[in-house]
Assembly symmetry: C2
Homo-oligomer: 331 residues x 2
Amino acid sequence: MALKKFINASEDLVEEMLEGFVAANSDKVEFRDERVLARKDAPVSDKVGLVTGGGSGHQPALIGYLGEGMFDAIAVGDIFAAPGFEPCYKAIKAADSGDGVLVTIGNYDGDKMYFGMAVDELKEEGHDVETIIINDDVLSSDDPENRRGIAGEIVVWKVAGALAEEGASLEKMKKLGEETLSKTRSAGVAHSPCIMPSSGEPSFEIGPNEMEIGVGHHGEPGIERVEMKSADETTDILMEHILADYSYEAGDDVLVIINGLGSTSLLEMKIVFKRVKEILDDKDISVYESWIGNFFTSMEMGGFSITLTQLTEETKRLIDAPVDAVQFPLP
Amino acid sequence: MALKKFINASEDLVEEMLEGFVAANSDKVEFRDERVLARKDAPVSDKVGLVTGGGSGHQPALIGYLGEGMFDAIAVGDIFAAPGFEPCYKAIKAADSGDGVLVTIGNYDGDKMYFGMAVDELKEEGHDVETIIINDDVLSSDDPENRRGIAGEIVVWKVAGALAEEGASLEKMKKLGEETLSKTRSAGVAHSPCIMPSSGEPSFEIGPNEMEIGVGHHGEPGIERVEMKSADETTDILMEHILADYSYEAGDDVLVIINGLGSTSLLEMKIVFKRVKEILDDKDISVYESWIGNFFTSMEMGGFSITLTQLTEETKRLIDAPVDAVQFPLP
């Protein structure tokens, strides 16, 4: 069976994609190295830099979030693979105007290792760098230390990015970013894998009638494989896990993200949102804002995740703050 | 095989989706009837109304384009099916502040029939209504009269919507909308169908190694079925058809749309854009603006289309004009 993807040689895929991305957005972004993209005006004076990095295959994440109000620089890896030490090092350096840099990455070993090495090196060179490791996926482990980062990462990025534009200190960004993360929980489901462009193999195997609760962005195993269920039943399962893990209370204002993994339609996501809102309405929890769309995909994977963040007056302001990243705001 | 879609009863799908959509965007849109959505402030005084309608399953089109700078009201049909007379009639009426209404729809029989009846009826009642039928898909027929409307519709909507906000007359909107359409050409390809939620059947049949050049948004037959090709080869084929059908000339400024049909990733679309830009660079045609993303989908169909519009100073200004629709701008 032929690979049904519009690519050229798979070994050129990331480079060609980056070239197309930069060509389409040359008013906002530029290469700083083969695998480092940055805002054209980075490093921005009197502003803490915000940096991330990780594997490709998740667009619009990560590179779509470069720009005012979000990231200054991003280190780009191969499909689902961590960027090496050098891109991590160069991305942080590109973002530092002398006011320091906050690195916010998902809780994945490769990303942590290479960013960790880069941060150590840059600290020795006198740069002020702090790191937030994002672990919002409640279904990836009972132990929060071992939980993966999924669509909840976007909330932390938006809050930290808005703070940076306001001129907040690195210390303040790290503190409020971690507080926001502590009020954020996600849970996802998938029924279809994506196909890896290099091998032509699916990211995970699943039966024609099955879906998997908790499967990760890269096809990491979830907690339970069940028969396909309705939108409402599926939403109820995910919301139960989220609500059991953090006490969202009557009177709370929350941000809701319904994140599509690639091939799940906006039509389906809106039906899911309708159910999420019914559940929250019943508990007197108010939806302050909703982001419904493909924010953090796994190429053409079929499935979605739900994220809730309990908001404060301060994070509401930061969520609402203007942002002019390449692909944010989103549908 | 189970239907791998997150829906509830398929007969409730459109209603539930609309409920979720309105709940998520209640600051901007509201129901005016079961199958009519409108901007909350419609009809807007001293502004010509802009209206469309058509089948569901194309999100963010059509309903995502409700809002300032784009649509005042939209008539919503079932999946891939025209809305009936009543929603068409009510959508136009909801948009008319007394300054008239421009209806812009794709060249599909059902949409034309019901909107045609509604327009006739409303004209008799004294409303000033004009219609543009959009037919940008060069691969759907040699005869422009029989060509379907695909992602090029969005260009006409953006131009007409921006004109309306500026206070242009209905006559001017129709004239410039049609001129813009006359400078717009699209061509698409697909390698995978979407699954119809009511029947569980694919929208078209295709082999595991095949793709089809020119297949329509609803699975309408294209012009040629070929083996899967690389991104560059596929892009070259589509661009040849577009460039053979309209004389985009050296020195022109164009808008390029790379529109994903659902499950084709942004990663692939950027590789396609890179090739489109190379082809245009070679001809000294300048990309003034590019829109790359899922603007007009067919649920989870796999494929994309390319659209080119030759811009004038006036349409550049209108393309750049502010817009605050629910899901526009897009990634």
